[in-house]
Assembly symmetry: C2
Homo-oligomer: 173 residues x 2
Amino acid sequence: MSGVDGLSLRELARDAGVSHGAPRRHFKDKRALLDALAVEGFTRLDAVLARANGEGGRFADRLSDVAIAYVRFATGHPALLELMFSSKHELDASAELKTAANACFARLEDLVRSGQASGELAAADLQQVGTIVFASLQGITALVNTEMAGDADLDALTVSTVRALLYGLAPRS
Amino acid sequence: MSGVDGLSLRELARDAGVSHGAPRRHFKDKRALLDALAVEGFTRLDAVLARANGEGGRFADRLSDVAIAYVRFATGHPALLELMFSSKHELDASAELKTAANACFARLEDLVRSGQASGELAAADLQQVGTIVFASLQGITALVNTEMAGDADLDALTVSTVRALLYGLAPRS
DNA sequence: ACCTGAACACCGTTCAAGT
DNA sequence: ACCTGAACACCGTTCAAGT
């Protein structure tokens, strides 16, 4: 049973000591409940990213800090992260969910923009650079959450990835 | 209903015009069936990667070709990919499944090794570089499969990501 | 060897009925 | 307003019985 579908409304009701029909009063659907959890997840993630993003300092350091915070959160709550992103891409995702998710992405995009403004990032399409950076973080998350990468050296892997993205894996000379 | 759990054995049996108990003769479990599908997926992916990896040519081009092939496959069969990686990380994944999966990763690792050997990649820990490269590809996959990145410019995104990994996003001068 | 079909213990969802 | 509990249509799994 994969993380999301392992959650049963009836079991939840049982644990709460209430009848299986009761949750219906609070959540119209199973997915309404899942959506609410996903919104909560994005809100918490946004707070985590905000805290990690020290306004001062070199861009490379701020990016590293945010990346570490993101990857720690994402690998620390694998089921929640899966829920957040699988809920978000449902065709009829709630406006609230989209708003919460976009706040997180905007935060990353702002960071990239500031790097371009200060010249620490080469001028390039903001969207595309943002996507590349975010994809790298999500990729680390995916590898760790499917146990293809150990989480022992998690921060080191994150920092190496950020470094590779900034300075390249090819010899620089 | 997420991709993997959307598949019902009873529905499968119905579609095959057979009783719901019949699949039991061929697959002991629902997961035994899913594992068999995952193995098939890795085998097909391995063939795709082998075909993409032209032995001659510059490393950067070969990496681009393999990356494009991987991302196309992964985003072209989202449910299969989710199944492949979620099955693989089950604690009691079959030896057959692990073997099929490892063949794909070894192929990527070989490519990285050849880049280091030719000097087109800086000397560094093979495992870590392999992980960074693979994470990037899996990250693109995750973004596209959760509809956070469009698949219109999929190859362009892949090529840009490979370029960023090789040469960096920071100004090079 | 392979399939059938009833049985069991679970789901999510709906809805009349209670308080 | 909120909860209950039966009902319905689904699951996966098991198992005696058929061919």
